[in-house]
């Protein structure tokens, strides 16, 4: 009798305990990620999934310091041409393969040599990889590269199981195997991505949920409704206009972090025939456009003050921001006189292409209204994304409203846009002095030297204004009260170490 009672109690307890255990954290995403292969992946939202699934050599703190993850220590040689890293011991991939220097070498080889790999330019400086011993690896560089560690903190540094990718080749993304806190279970396109807790994770103690389900929900209103209805536990990219409502809601919490990227207007200065117009040829007109815009008002009106006005590729809070050029106040008079100087005292007509999504359109309509007061008449061309990209890259545009999601290393926000053969230099801006300064900044590991180079480049760029920076998005997460321990990071990633889900 007593025994059965004990057994019954134990069972009940056990059942209750396991019921408490089976915790699934449901995260609402803005988009459906692309292929789940870090080497082939190219979207921001894909990185959010990797943050839970794939560990990297190093990680960052919210203050953008580089900290160990799969690598516990590293050392640069004096000439900056060799990086030796010590690897963490006792780490295994989700399929049981051991993590060691061989695995790292295989990964770097794949990232550099797989034809479909998008990581080639990120690891372009690595000319040789040497397996010193099981847990030490040495990279030889062709030239000093200040950005390398930051690259290792992103997809280029994500370690995939060599067993898995040797077997699957380019199909690795259909069944990814990494070494992060959660392992891949299933993915149904545009429906869900499910990950399960990896029992043998080296930092398993920091993980408190049993599974993670990512649910893409493109419409912000719907995403928030799902959170409120209890069908989500947290979501990313809350609309700025919903902030007040979430703050007023007792059952929800909000976290935010200013992003690493920017939004602005890229102007075609030399990319084909599209640049043959006053806006593209005369920097005074570009400066006038920039002066006619009240960035603070845009932030207030369109984003309820939640974002950060900006005038440089880095937000004003960034250590790389050049304080010599603060965010300018609107100055219609100065804009008008610049236009007059350039010969357009009666005003000028320009066209700006915009992606046809409501927020960007709304923002540009405010810009349009502001610019018209200074005599700059903007015709907005809303284009469907594919067409916009095609036109931009071919130079079929005068000005284009585009943004950039941002990179940890400042080089990532500026080099490929502003250098003469930069990969994403759609404005075809070219200035040898700027090239020299940006390359200098890239190859020095001395922060002071780099800052000086960027500042010197800014002196030129603020005059030439090939890109008019407008604002920096703030990543805003909304969470159910039951989710505790979430730390916001400026790279927009959701790191689940330390996050708990109350019942």
């Amino acid at each position: 009798m007593i025994r059965t009672k004990h057994i019954a109690l134990a069972l009940a307890f056990g059942v209750a305990a396991t019921a408490l255990q089976a915790q699934d954290l449901r995260i609402g995403l803005q988009e459906d990620p692309d292929v789940l292969d870090p080497d082939q992946s190219r979207t921001f939202v894909g990185r959010i999934v990797y943050a839970s699934m794939c560990d990297k050599l190093v990680d960052i703190t919210p203050g953008l310091e580089i900290i160990p993850q799969l690598a516990t220590g590293w050392q640069w040689s004096d000439d900056g041409l060799q990086l030796t890293m010590t690897l963490r011991e006792g780490v295994v991939f989700h399929d049981g393969t051991a993590f060691n220097a061989e695995a790292v070498a295989a990964n770097i080889d794949r990232s550099q040599n797989l034809p479909e790999s998008r990581r080639k330019s990120e690891l372009g400086s690595i000319t040789g990889v040497e397996v010193v011993d099981d847990h030490t690896i040495a990279f030889t560089l062709g030239a000093p590269d200040a950005t390398l560690l930051a690259q290792f903190a992103d997809r280029a540094g994500m370690m995939l199981s060599p067993t898995a990718f040797e077997a699957a080749g380019t199909d690795f993304g259909l069944n990814p195997v990494c070494s992060g806190p959660f392992s891949f279970v299933e993915r149904i396109q545009q429906d869900r991505i499910v990950l399960d807790r990896f029992a043998d994770y080296w930092n398993a103690d920091a993980i408190n949920v049993d599974s993670v389900t990512f649910l893409p929900m493109p419409d912000t209103t719907v995403r928030l409704a799902n959170l409120r209805a209890g069908d989500l536990d947290m979501l990313e990219r809350l609309a700025a206009t919903d902030v007040a409502s979430v703050q007023a809601d007792d059952s929800l919490t909000m976290e935010q972090a200013v992003s690493l990227g920017y939004q602005g207007i890229t102007i075609n200065v030399a990319n084909g025939a599209g640049a043959d117009n006053p806006l593209g040829q005369d920097e005074r007109i570009r400066q006038a456009l920039s002066l006619s815009i009240d960035r603070n008002v845009i932030n207030q009106v369109v984003f309820e003050g939640a974002f950060a006005p900006g005038n440089q590729p880095f937000p004003p809070t960034s250590p790389w921001y050049n304080d010599a050029y603060p965010v300018p106040e609107r100055d219609v008079e100065a804009a008008r006189s610049l236009l007059a100087e350039a010969g357009f005292a009666d005003g000028i007509d320009i066209t700006v292409q915009v992606p046809n999504n409501p927020v960007q359109l709304q923002m540009m309509q405010v810009v349009q209204a502001m610019a018209s007061e200074a005599g700059i008449n903007i015709e907005l061309q809303a284009k469907e994304f594919a067409t916009l990209l095609a036109d931009q890259s071919a130079g079929d545009y005068q000005a284009s409203q585009v943004g950039w999601s941002g990179r940890v290393d400042p080089d990532g926000n500026i080099h490929q846009f502003m250098t003469t053969d930069g990969g994403i230099n759609d404005s075809a801006y070219s200035n040898p002095e700027v090239d020299r300064l940006l390359n200098e900044a890239r190859t020095s590991t001395d922060t002071d030297v780099r800052l000086a180079s960027y500042n010197a480049a800014r002196d030129i760029l603020i005059e030439d204004t090939p890109i008019i920076y407008l604002y920096h998005v703030t990543w805003i997460w909304a969470l159910d009260d039951a989710v505790q321990g979430f730390v916001p990071y400026p790279d927009g990633m959701i790191r689940l170490e330390g996050v708990t889900l109350a019942e």
């Binding site: 479909e116 998008r118 380019t170 149904i188 545009q190 649910l215 719907v222 209890g230 994304f385 594919a386």
Partner: protein
Amino acid sequence: MLAFIGRRILIAIPTIILISVFVFTLQHLLPGDPILVLAGEERDPEVLEFLREKYRLNDPIPVQYLAWVGNALQGDLGISLRTNQPVLELIGEKLPVTLQLATMALIIAMVIGIPAGVLSAYKKGTWIDWVANIVALSGLSVPNFWLGIMMILLVSVQLGWLPASGYQPFADDPLQSIKTMLMPAFVLGTAIAATLMRHTRSAMLSVLKSDYIRTARAKGLAERVVLVKHALRNALVPIVTVTTLIFGELLAGAVLTEQIFTIPGFGKLVVDAVFNRDYAVVQGIVLCTGIAFIFMNLLADVAQRILNPRMRDK
């Protein structure tokens, strides 16, 4: 009848070819480069060119089309450029979802619409007619995405009666499956119910005035029998036509409803694929829906002939 069906199936083949050529050409003529779109933020020109070669996107359009046909005949519909997933697998994933949504929506529409139409025609001019019309038109005059959001806010957020999103395969958990699909099916169904109701009403009105009905009534048949067995049956021609067309449309996917309720069906997949220039996905789905439409049309024509034997070939 069998000969008729057989002929139609034969003719279906050139039709499908026509559809696939049309959509293929249209897509490839669209401005925009899929590799560039899918490149997102990583635009390494070497890699992009490699991918264009790999997926034969530099080949002339007819060559690409023939390659697609060749593969399709072997059961390979290509892969999604975005996620590398085989298109056939994608279709297999989404088809049951769309089928379930379409069926549920149509059932709701028929259950509401046809009786309402019959009643409204029968009681023409009375307040019943008025009310039925206004209710039906309400279902029609509110955009799907709007009604959907309102329903989520009311039913899921405020009342907590039904989940706001998610999909459960019917085979796994029928009850939960229906719960997740109920709101989207309702949203879709009410809009269609209006169409069905109006067509039913109109057709019934025409028929009720005919001598045939007068005769039936004169014979002393019960009103209900007159209504259903005689009037409705004859009014069915336009109703059947419209219903099969609507079902075909539903099968093509209800994009906005799927987006609002996060139902992973065809509609959303196709629209995203067109925006992303994910050619193979669009091609595969259009092939599917094309076959579905042809089948639905055939069904409609067969039904017509059964209902009105005089409409067979002269």
